[in-house]
């Protein structure tokens, strides 16, 4: 479920809202989640398939957001800075962790030391993610509040 809140946050951004396929992708993910836990995985154990699906979902969300920023001429750096930093953090985190989740059990079974090393890498990327999220929150609070005043 760690991907749901970031996905909802990215969906709440004005420029991402019109991208309907992301919404459908999120619904598809919920369906996948149900099918996965009913037929394949146990909800009480770490499901690498679920984590990988989450990673790919978030990667698609954040890359869509980035591509939109590239093509949108009106996108203003100062306005999108918090969302950009958050997406950067989560995008980097998921890009590192997608393959870690995908291959974690096979690597753990074959090479325990390497598994711990990549797990450490995963934890470091998690720190990076929260640093970026912290920066995003900081930039969000620093944004000026636009007040509507009556013209005299």
């Amino acid at each position: 479920m760690r991907s749901v809140f970031p996905a909802l946050y990215l969906l709440s951004i004005e420029s991402v809202k019109p991208m309907r396929f992301l919404r459908y992708l999120l619904y598809s993910y919920f369906i996948f989640l149900l099918i996965n836990f009913i037929f394949f995985d146990n909800i009480f154990y770490l499901s690498t398939a679920q984590h990988s699906a989450e990673s790919i979902l978030i990667l698609i969300f954040s890359i869509s957001f980035f591509l939109h920023l590239i093509i949108d001429d009106e996108a203003d750096y100062k306005t999108v800075k918090p969302a950009l930093f958050f997406s950067m953090g989560i995008g980097l985190y998921e890009s590192i962790n997608f393959f870690i989740y995908l291959f974690f059990y096979p690597v753990l079974n074959s090479d325990y030391n390497f598994a711990t090393t990549i797990y450490d890498a995963s934890q470091y990327s998690f720190i990076l993610y929260w640093v970026m999220t912290g920066l995003a929150i900081y930039f969000h609070t620093r944004q000026p509040v636009h007040k509507i005043s009556s013209a005299s």
């Binding site: 980035f66 920023l69 890009s95 393959f99 870690i100 890498a121 005299s152």
Partner: protein
């Protein structure tokens, strides 16, 4: 087998990370490009605005000159001719009452001619062209306050030799407008103009003991429809790339103008 999985895993992470970093780099580059484009557009917009202001000011000056010339050459000539005709009347043939009327008429005509000359000189600003900015300010001040109860003094920096004539004209018009406003609305009895040239900037300070404007009042009035004079001041200041600030205390009001002294010709 083990090393294969490890290799695939590391390769996968590297590819994904590379992909993500490339996208981020593209985002950053696009923002940079957009910012450059935005700045260029803003500079262009500013340049167009300046050109519009300059055109408006130039047409205003041309109109002033036309009016000044019409007043001086046509109305002034008619009044001078009327004076000649009036002086041609033999006073010996007039009785005491008509003599008084004749003198009164001649006096009023003289007054009219002087005023027409004054107005046309103000509009034309010949003194500015011939004697420079400082002399023009001193002359204008003596003209507008002459005969009134306002005590005036000037202390203008002689090192200031003038800018491009159009810029000096704009500065002169600003001073004219400010002095007119001060005399009309502030109710001042003492007024001082000082100027100082320092590091390529000319600073002009108008101090008076009347009820002048504060910065907030200036900003408010200059955006109103009827605040044409203040609007002109704002536009001319914008054109000169200068600053104007208003401040007042209970004792005095100060208007401070800061203009680059070496504007490009």
């Amino acid at each position: 087998m083990t090393s294969n999985i490890n290799y695939l895993l590391v390769l996968g992470i590297a590819v994904m990370l590379g992909l993500m970093l490339s996208v981020l780099l593209a985002v950053m580059l696009s923002f940079r490009k957009k910012n450059q484009h935005r700045r260029a557009m803003e500079a262009l917009r500013q340049e167009q605005q300046n050109q519009l202001i300059e055109a408006a000011i130039r047409s205003e000056e041309e109109e002033r000159h036309r009016i000044a010339e019409t007043l001086h050459d046509e109305v002034g000539a008619i009044l001078s001719s009327a004076k000649l005709h009036l002086l041609g009347i033999k006073q010996q043939t007039l009785d005491e009452k008509d003599t008084k009327l004749h003198e009164k008429g001649a006096g009023l005509l003289n007054d009219g001619i002087k005023r027409i000359r004054g107005i046309s000189h103000n509009l034309h600003s010949n003194i500015l062209k011939e004697f420079g900015f400082n002399e023009a300010v001193i002359h204008f001040l003596s003209q507008v306050t002459g005969g009134s109860m306002i005590e005036t003094s000037t202390n203008l920096d002689e090192r200031y030799k003038g800018n491009k004539q159009e810029h000096d004209m704009s500065l002169y018009r600003i001073i004219q407008e400010l002095l007119n406003n001060t005399i009309k609305y502030a109710g001042a009895t003492s007024l001082t103009i000082t100027s100082e040239l320092f590091s390529d900037n000319l600073s002009i300070r108008i101090t008076h003991n009347g009820n002048g404007l504060s910065q907030e009042e200036f900003e408010t009035f200059s955006f109103r429809k009827e605040g044409l004079g203040l609007k002109n001041i704002r536009n001319r200041i914008l054109l000169l790339k200068g600053q104007v600030s208003f401040s007042k205390t209970q004792e005095q009001s100060v208007i401070l103008l800061k203009i680059p002294a070496n504007l490009p010709l």
